[in-house]
């Protein structure tokens, strides 16, 4: 039972850390619609899987919602134009994770959809939660695929692939992830507060498409307003609301499954292996917009926050909008801004180029001041074991870091390096400020390369 909020807890996972939540910058800011940018730059790779193939040419005119790139292969998702405009020459954009990908720049031209209309399309109106069972599951999956929907929580896995029928591994439970465990970010929180019915609709759609018997939404107890909104919206729909104690990384899918269902996903396996699928609330919302309103994925909610932003906000922004536009809409940088991160501060990628576009997986831009930032003075590892005490996967981060430094692939395998999902708990807690995540990341790459070579 949470004394602070009065909610009954459904369960938790072992270990983890408690970074400062710092949601106060933006958690009370209603979603605003970003003014349509003059130019968007749409990367052709925005998901796990194969990059898309552009189907438009330079100087071609496109409209809001028109497909501009088609998916290649099964594990891919098409991409749509978020504005009315003219396609420019194919370009290259550097994503925050360092990858260079081709992109389709579109310059806005002519009349655009009004901001009020965009709000109505994505956040307004009625979202049904009855009669979902009458829709053919195959139709749901097809429309999700055709709308280009991928996981909006950050991993960006094509959703129709996750819910493709699998006789050997049927799904009995779908979990909707409303935890948003990263500090600072509040995009999912505001979505649940302002448009909870859409989340319920999307959840019911995905439950029906997966053939699951049970649908549960998990939220951390640091968002009481969102919890109440979801409880109200889910009433009578069959969707359960599970409140979990706030702990990082509760929003990680393996930890969410452990907390709510007490099932352990096999190491190296998928939630499918224990009959579960996990989907972000933003993805559920996008699925509702696609199936009920026929809207492809063209916009998403991006939280622009941190001490380095003058007026933190939650913005509904077009995919492909440059970071510059979002930051300007939030009053620009403060004087002491020192780090700009795509995503949250625990797992997000730092970047500097303001032309960097919003992609399907961009949950927010966090701009930190020097006071909020990680200390960088590194000292020696004294084997205190704190990293072992906090690793949610029960690994030994200090040994993995040591193995990585010495390029010892055997030691990395023995300590299960590929099990690490780079949450950052170890580096967060380390008294010596060692770059453990960076070292383990390198180590994982060494293991993958060695496994590939071994065949």
């Amino acid at each position: 039972m949470s004394a602070a909020t009065g909610f009954k807890h459904a369960g938790t996972f072992e270990r983890g850390v408690h970074p400062p939540e710092r949601k106060g910058y933006s958690e009370n800011e209603s979603i605003e619609i970003l003014p349509t940018p003059e130019k968007v730059d749409v990367p052709i790779l925005q998901n796990i899987g194969a990059p898309c193939e552009p189907i438009v040419k330079s100087k071609q005119e496109v409209v809001f919602g028109e497909k501009i790139a088609r998916g290649k292969g099964f594990v891919s998702a098409p991409i749509f134009s978020p504005i009315n405009g003219k396609v420019q020459k194919l370009s290259v954009v550097t994503l925050p994770n360092g990858r260079h990908v081709s992109s389709i720049p579109i310059r806005a031209q002519g009349d655009q959809i009004s901001l009020r209309e965009l709000r109505e399309i994505f956040l307004g109106g009625v979202w049904p939660n009855r009669g979902i069972e009458t829709i053919d599951p195959e139709v749901i999956r097809r429309q999700i695929a055709e709308a280009g929907i991928v996981g909006l929580g950050g991993a960006a896995f094509p959703t129709h692939v996750k819910y493709a029928p699998n006789e050997k591994k049927p799904i009995d439970t779908v979990l909707i992830n409303g935890c948003e465990c990263e500090p600072y970010l509040t995009s999912d929180t505001r979505l649940m507060i302002e448009c909870p019915e859409a989340v319920v609709t999307g959840a019911l759609l995905v439950k029906h498409a997966a053939g699951a018997k049970r649908i549960v939404i998990g939220l951390e107890d640091n968002k009481p307003e969102a919890i109440k909104a979801m409880q109200r919206a889910a009433g009578g729909s069959g969707m359960e609301v599970a409140v979990l104690p706030t702990k990082y990384p509760q929003g990680s899918e393996k930890q969410l499954i452990m907390a709510i269902l007490k099932r352990a996903v096999p190491l190296g396996g998928l939630p499918l292996d224990v009959g579960v699928a996990v989907t972000n609330v933003g993805t559920a919302h996008a699925m509702a917009a696609a199936v009920i309103r026929g809207r492809p994925l063209t916009h998403r909610i991006v939280c622009v926050t941190g001490a380095g932003i003058r007026r933190p906000r939650n913005l509904l922004a077009p995919i492909g909008a440059p970071a510059r536009d979002l930051i300007a809409a939030c009053g620009g940088f403060t004087e002491d801004a020192v780090r700009m991160i795509a995503g949250g501060p625990m797992m997000g990628f730092a970047f500097t180029d303001l032309n960097t576009p919003v992609t399907k997986g961009t949950s927010g831009f966090t701009v930190l001041s020097a006071a909020e930032l990680k200390q960088t003075e590194e000292t020696n590892c004294v084997r205190c074991g704190r990293c072992v005490d906090v690793c949610p996967m029960n690994l030994v981060p200090t040994k993995l870091a040591l193995a990585s430094r010495n390029k010892d692939v055997d030691l990395l395998e023995r300590y299960s390096a590929p099990g690490c999902f780079e949450c950052g708990c170890c580096a967060y807690i380390c008294p010596a400020n060692l770059p453990i995540v960076q070292l383990v990341r390198t180590g994982k790459a060494m293991v993958m390369a060695a496994r590939k070579k071994a065949g």
Partner: protein
């Protein structure tokens, strides 16, 4: 690792206007937050704070002898670390306090009667061979203070033997009697529990007051600078063997409580065995390590010629730490159970 890249600046202003200072944004790998309340230096300072009650008790009992040993050992350890680190071509960092901690622990493990060269050589050997040769802080296998003490114990056998603790002449009252453990081993004399608890007995500088060790030790565990699993394991093992010994030797008057409060057991359990560098990483491993230390201490106390066994027990278990680490690799979440 940290690259500095300038964010786009506005166009240079015309004459007479102040230039707009754009913030300097740089990149680094995730995570971008860290828990600032714990650093390695703060852990070392915690140890020094926890040692304060023990040092105060030793000053009270041993007076100038305690001051003498503390000054010599701390100075030697600091000098040794600076010298050897410079010889390795690195910059010495005395302000990380690790050498100071080694010095204090070494001093507290010596008898008050030890000559000046015992502390000096103990400090140099302990820091040089116990730590710097392995590569500095975090790289050593054996507890550096104990390495120094083991060396002087063998090199200056007379000064550190059980009888060396006594000195009839001199101003300090405490050293005129035998240490409690030695008195029991040689003559079956049982020192009252209260004296063992408070500390007005003879012994090495830090071992006499069980109360001071407990206060400091519990502070360390609460601060999470020391892992509680290690002292818990030590006390559990000593309790277990102590109870058996008490039952077997019911008429000796020496109970398991005497074992716990007497000698350097509490000092060793909380301050020596808990050195994170030389003890295992996982909670299970720490319990095993503590249990091993406790068992070896009892073995040495009951069956060897030495009245006390903490130093040897810790060094032996240090050598077993890599093996214990291998035995207690935690099972990753979702990994199959090993058969």
């Amino acid at each position: 690792m940290v690259e500095k890249t300038e964010k786009e600046k506005k166009a240079p202003p015309g004459k007479g206007k102040q230039p707009e200072i754009a913030p300097l944004i740089h990149v680094a790998p995730s995570p971008h937050l860290s828990n600032t309340s714990q650093t390695t230096r703060r852990m070392m300072i915690d140890v020094l704070v926890a040692l304060a009650p023990v040092v105060l008790a030793s000053l009270f009992v041993f007076r100038w002898m305690a001051v003498f040993q503390l000054v010599i050992c701390v100075a030697s350890c600091l000098a040794a670390e600076s010298l050897f680190t410079i010889m390795r071509g690195r910059r010495p960092t005395p302000t990380d306090f690790s050498a100071a901690v080694t010095g204090v622990i070494l001093a507290l493990s010596l008898p008050g009667t030890a000559p000046w060269y015992v502390g000096v050589i103990g400090g140099f050997v302990g820091v040089g061979i116990g730590k710097t040769i392995f590569g500095g802080l975090g790289m050593n296998i054996f507890n550096p203070a104990m390495v120094g003490r083991a060396f002087v114990m063998i090199a200056f056998a007379g000064a550190l033997a059980a009888s060396g603790y006594e000195s009839a002449a001199g101003t300090v009252d405490a050293v005129s009697r035998a240490t409690p453990l030695n008195a029991f081993k040689q003559n079956g004399v049982v020192t009252p529990l209260w004296n063992l608890f408070i500390g007005n007995t003879n012994g090495s500088l830090g071992e006499t007051s069980a109360l001071a060790c407990l206060i400091g030790g519990i502070y360390l565990c609460i601060r999470r600078t020391a892992s509680w699993e290690i002292p818990a394991g030590v006390l559990a093992a000593v309790f277990g063997f102590g109870v058996i010994d008490t039952l077997v030797n019911l008429d000796s008057g020496w109970t398991f409580l005497h074992h716990i409060f007497g000698g350097a057991l509490l000092f060793g359990a909380f301050f020596i065995a808990t050195d994170p560098v030389t003890s295992p990483l996982s909670p299970r491993g720490k319990l095993l390590f503590g249990g091993g230390v406790g068992a070896l201490v009892m073995l040495l106390r009951l069956f060897s010629g030495y009245p006390e066994g903490v130093m040897f027990a810790v060094l032996l278990m240090n050598s077993a730490t890599p093996l214990i680490n291998r035995w207690t690799i935690p099972r990753p979440l979702g990994a199959a159970m090993q058969g």
